[in-house]
């Protein structure tokens, strides 16, 4: 569950501690649930298009998010689509 207004994300009703940028990444993935989101799109959302050159920082956020989610669930919620980007999907 992602609550954009409350800036809060929960897995099985347990809140996950996220930084603002991590939350923004997760939120954007959630809004495009089931669809592939590119690094550039995420970067524009989280840092703004001027920071596009740093788009590899998205990989770091995804890694951190995965680590934090791993503590709550065994399911790999964020999947990497090689050469394209990431997708948020259950199962």
């Amino acid at each position: 569950m992602i609550h954009p207004t409350a800036h809060e994300a929960k897995v099985d009703n347990k809140a996950i501690e996220l930084t603002a940028k991590e939350f923004a990444v997760l939120e954007y993935l959630g809004r495009n649930y089931g669809q592939v989101v590119t690094r550039t799109m995420l970067m524009e959302q989280v840092w703004g298009s001027d920071f596009e050159t740093f788009s590899n920082v998205i990989d770091v956020y995804i890694k951190n998010l995965r680590n934090k989610l791993k503590a709550h669930t065994d399911i790999n919620l964020i999947r990497t689509i090689r050469g394209k980007g990431y997708v948020l999907k259950e199962s």
Partner: protein, 453 residues
């Protein structure tokens, strides 16, 4: 009417200057001749009048004191010896003595009679007048116990003739002087204006980018022309640099793209051990993509550089610091930031992010695992200082002079992917914002990048 003007007046500088020069000289000569003529003419007239006056004063006592028989004889002799003519009229207006020729005598007698009627005894100053080239002076005298009149005349013909000769010869001298003067002046002008033509000819030779190497020789030029020629030379230099830059840019870009594409081609051809080849092919493609993106960015940056805004440089550098920390985590880099708050800047924010971003990204790329990066943003007396230091691989002294060259990649960069455009972009953006970028580095010890804004 307007169309006939260009034909009347020369439209070359040379022609105009010559015309002006000859015109002024002629005018000055004419004024001089006129002035001296007038002076000479009036001096001569005064002199003649004075002369006549002296003679008439001598003749008057002769008329008044001698008996008629003696008087006429003495009078003729006295006046005749001075080359003058004399007329004596009796109170009834008849000529008692007359030495002038008949035609002159007729007109002059008539005139003198009128003077006799109008003059009065008291004024004994002579009346001066000219008739048919003869200057007269007349005074009332007592003739036969009545008021008669005595007139003495002097021919000015000879003087006038001499005077005319002087004027004519003056004019002739003027013409003879003006001809060689005009010619000499024209030649001098041609010589003085030669550099202008040389300048024009030199500039005409510049017809295409390949002839931009032409420079004008300023050694023989006068100061004014030198300024023009130097300005033209500077402009040619800048144009040449720009064209050279463009040419180099295209050839560099082509070469940079060619290498990974050639690698890609050989991988596709060989088709051995698919797994390894695929990774290599992707790496080649990534290099092409990065280069193309950077090229596009440079093109975009050039057209966007005029869009400026005020923004907080402190916040921007803090964000960069955050990014460096995140990206450096993998390499376990420690990041120390010294960022003075509330430093503002006016410029293109996107371009500044890219320029400074390239520098911090380089610091991450070339750092060794576990190294540290220092980011500094402070307000100094001479401006805003931004500095990124790393303890990474450093740059070879051999590579250091070339690091700003587009597409140049030093020996230590082989393990890092990049287009070689990063530093060139940073440098041009910083310089476009009036800043300065310097890099100090020692191989194996690290690199320090300093930006003054």
């Amino acid at each position: 009417m307007k169309q006939s003007w260009p034909r009347l007046l020369p439209n070359t500088l040379r022609g105009k200057l010559s015309l002006w020069y000859v015109g002024t000289t002629t005018f000055l000569f004419l004024v001089l001749i006129g002035f001296f003529s007038f002076l000479t003419w009036s001096a001569l007239n005064t002199q003649i009048d004075h002369h006549i006056h002296v003679v008439i004063e001598e003749a008057r006592p002769v008329v008044e004191n001698y008996p008629t028989s003696r008087r006429d004889e003495l009078l003729k002799r006295l006046v005749g010896s001075k080359g003058m003519i004399v007329t004596l009229l009796s109170p009834d207006g008849a000529a008692v003595v007359q030495t002038a020729s008949t035609d002159i005598a007729l007109t002059s007698e008539h005139y003198i009679q009128q003077i006799m009627v109008n003059s009065n005894w008291e004024s004994r100053a002579p009346d001066h007048f000219s008739i048919q080239g003869i200057r007269f002076a007349a005074v009332p005298v007592s003739v036969n116990a009545g008021k008669g009149i005595l007139a003495v005349g002097y021919s000015t013909d000879v003087i006038e003739k001499t005077f005319r000769q002087i004027v004519v010869s003056g004019t002739l001298i003027l013409i003879f002087l003006l001809t060689p003067l005009s010619y000499l002046g024209y030649r001098l002008l041609v010589r003085q204006l030669q550099p202008v033509e040389t300048l024009a000819i030199s500039l005409k030779k510049v017809t295409d980018p390949n002839s931009l190497g032409v420079r004008i020789d300023t050694s023989t030029m006068t100061q004014e022309l030198k300024t023009i020629a130097q300005a033209a030379n500077q402009m040619l230099h800048r144009l040449e640099m720009t064209f050279q830059y463009e040419q180099d840019f295209f050839s560099d870009a082509a070469h940079t793209l060619k290498t990974p594409l050639a690698a890609l081609r050989s991988h596709v051809e060989s088709n051995q051990s698919p797994r390894k080849t695929k990774a290599e092919m992707l790496a080649s493609l990534d290099r092409v993509m990065v280069t193309v993106e950077d090229l596009l960015y440079m093109a975009k940056a050039q057209s966007n550089s005029t869009i400026v805004e005020d923004f907080s440089l402190s916040e921007l550098v803090e964000e960069l610091g955050e990014l460096v920390e995140l990206l450096g985590a993998e390499k376990r880099l420690s990041v120390q930031s010294t960022i003075e708050p509330d430093i503002n800047f006016r410029g293109n924010r996107g371009l500044i992010i890219r320029a400074l971003g390239n520098l911090v990204q380089n610091a991450i790329h070339y750092s060794n695992k576990g190294g540290s990066i220092t980011i500094q943003l402070t307000k100094e007396v001479s401006g805003t200082l931004f500095r990124v230091s790393d303890e990474g691989v450093g740059i070879d002294d051999h590579d250091l002079p070339h690091i700003y060259d587009r597409f140049y990649r030093g020996k230590n960069t082989i393990t890092h992917k990049g287009s070689g455009l990063g530093l060139a972009i940073s440098k041009s953006v910083i310089e476009a914002h009036g800043g300065k970028l310097t890099i100090e580095s020692s191989l194996g010890k690290g690199t320090k990048v300093t930006v003054w804004l």
